[in-house]
């Protein structure tokens, strides 16, 4: 009789589970953006919580702590974005002036002539065919020019994206403020629903997840800060050798932030540095013919790549092991799989969330294994 009841209970649980999965599948498209906002708000809360708790202890009022931290963080981000936009606009104006005064046709003709001299005769005869390559490259440049002339439509869509991003950012900020203010009450309300039998296990699981995520995020942010600082120092050293890089602080900060995405981020950090190097050194013969020891490195591109590789090596071997340590304790293969899955599901955002999410899954799996081993004690 008991066995029959058990199998009916299991069947009932299976049906309820499947129905719930189905419901989640149906409503997910409508709630996914809010869920992602809440996840980000939770992650920011985890990073900012110790500072708010500290201020609450010093000032006696939590709301004051939340207010100060919110003003400091949003002010810092605002100042960063504002000065970045104004400096980048100046940089872009200089670049456009430089481009409009520059004779691309002449440069391409020179480049093709130099190529034709250097390459064996049969290649030039078969592939380049006299003026063919020159005209193709000139067409390519004129296409690009006409593309930039249609900038208005690009700017409109960009404004739409910025508007969407700003809305999401404001919503995440509001969620973060609410969670920061009521974090401890929220946590208490959440665990209230755990049945008595699993209450202590549930509390420990919550605590372990919280500790795992907060250690990981704090370590990652400190590692990102150190990568940013090392990148700034590296770029200043390159400038001392004539690389003529501007927006050094911003490139450093972007490199540091990109570093939050494991494996892929470091390469993303190089891109703005290389772009700025090309923009600033267009027409500068010394930069175009620059060599790194004996290897040609036009626009200091190889120097920049080498500098970022050195920063990455210092970060991977010295800084991150000290700051992040074994906080997540995932096998490198698992990190790669998590990144691929996260990237496939949610793009760059998924890659950012992949490792902490994998860490949380690992903690839950450990607790489930612990509970199943000690089920007779609950």
């Amino acid at each position: 009789m008991d066995k029959q009841v058990d199998s009916w209970t299991q069947f009932y649980r299976l049906v309820v589970g499947l129905l719930m999965l189905g419901a989640v599948y149906v409503i997910w498209p409508y709630v996914s953006s809010v869920v992602i906002m809440l996840v980000f708000a939770f992650l920011f809360t985890t990073v900012l919580l110790p500072s708010v708790d500290l201020l609450e202890r010093k000032m006696g009022k939590r709301v004051l702590g939340v207010l100060i931290i919110t003003i400091a963080v949003t002010g810092g981000i605002g100042i960063f974005i504002g000065s970045f936009i104004s400096q980048f606009a100046g940089q872009a104006k200089n670049f456009i002036d430089q481009v409009s005064n520059y004779n691309f046709e002449e440069m391409i003709k020179n480049l093709v002539a130099r190529l034709t001299d250097k390459l064996p005769e049969f290649i030039t005869a078969n592939l380049i065919q006299g003026e063919g390559l020159t005209s193709k490259l000139t067409d390519f440049i004129s296409n690009i020019t006409s593309y930039f002339q249609n900038l208005l439509s690009v700017a409109t869509s960009l404004a739409g994206s910025i508007g969407g991003f700003l809305f999401n950012a404001i919503m995440v900020l509001i969620f973060t403020i609410i969670i920061l203010q009521n974090y401890h009450n929220f946590k208490r309300s959440m665990v209230k629903f755990i049945p008595n039998k699993y209450f202590e296990v549930g509390l420990r699981l919550t605590f372990n997840i919280e500790r795992q995520v907060s250690n990981y995020l704090r370590g990652q942010f400190m590692a990102a800060a150190s990568v940013g600082l090392m990148s700034i120092i590296g770029l200043l050293i390159l400038n001392a050798f004539g690389a003529n890089l501007t927006l050094v602080v911003f490139i450093g900060i972007i490199a540091g932030l990109a570093n939050l995405i494991p494996l892929v981020g470091p390469f993303v950090g190089m891109v703005p540095a290389i772009l700025i190097a090309i923009m600033n050194n267009l027409g500068n013969q010394a930069a175009i013919t620059h060599t790194l020891i004996v290897i040609p490195s036009p626009f200091y591109i190889l120097d920049i790549i080498l500098m970022f590789i050195i920063v990455q090596q210092l970060d991977n071997n010295l800084v991150t092991p000290k700051l992040v340590g074994e906080s997540v304790g995932l096998h490198p293969l698992m990190v790669m799989i998590a990144l691929l899955v996260g990237g496939t599901l949610l793009g760059p955002m998924g890659m950012l969330l992949a490792v902490p999410a994998a860490g949380i899954i690992k903690v839950i799996a450990q607790e489930i294994s612990f509970v199943s081993r000690n089920a007779h004690l609950l």
């Binding site: 609450e56 202890r57 208490r188 665990v191 039998k197 202590e200 509390l203 605590f207 000690n374």
Partner: protein
């Protein structure tokens, strides 16, 4: 005439002590706490309701914290291999148990079961750990009081041991 509007505005001025705070005041671990400190502790306390014959925890279960009885009765016991129950104590309102688990996650040395409809206040190690990080002064005050409780019990155990040795000797 009383106005609900003004009642709501000034409700925080009254600062009446809740049943939770009144019960916490009876527990030696929260001895000499100010009202503000009690309000801080109240935020960390979990209120749980148990039916008669429901286990609070079983023998050898991994311990996570201490329970204080707000109302009802709890039996502390151990069962031998044959299932015979050896009852150590029946605790009532204001009593507390499981305080050793605030310090480590060692398995529980006895089982606890509600013997009537019981409301318990739980204070757990993860919350104590987060309190120690957030408010070390208050966290240390709890740890010091906890140490005093354990020292008192150790002293009492020593006296009982000495008495039983003296009885055995002669």
């Amino acid at each position: 005439m009383k106005s609900a509007y003004w009642e709501n505005i000034f409700k925080d001025w009254r600062k009446e002590e809740s049943a939770t705070v009144l019960t916490l005041k009876q527990v030696p671990i929260f001895r000499d706490f100010s009202n503000r400190e009690f309000r801080e502790i109240e935020k960390l306390i979990h209120q749980r309701i148990y039916k008669p014959e429901e286990y609070v925890f079983k023998l050898k279960a991994p311990g996570e914290g201490l329970y204080i009885i707000l109302s009802g009765k709890v039996e502390i016991f151990a069962e031998d291999a044959r299932g015979d129950r050896n009852v150590f104590a029946v605790l009532g309102e204001g009593d507390f148990f499981g305080e050793m688990s605030l310090l480590d996650a060692e398995p529980r040395s006895a089982a606890a079961m509600a013997i009537e409809h019981t409301t318990l206040l739980g204070f757990f190690r993860p919350d104590l750990m987060s309190l120690l990080a957030r408010n070390p002064d208050l966290g240390n005050k709890i740890l010091l009081n906890l140490a005093k409780v354990i020292v008192e019990r150790l002293r009492h155990t020593n006296i009982l041991l000495t008495q039983s040795q003296e009885k055995a000797d002669g």
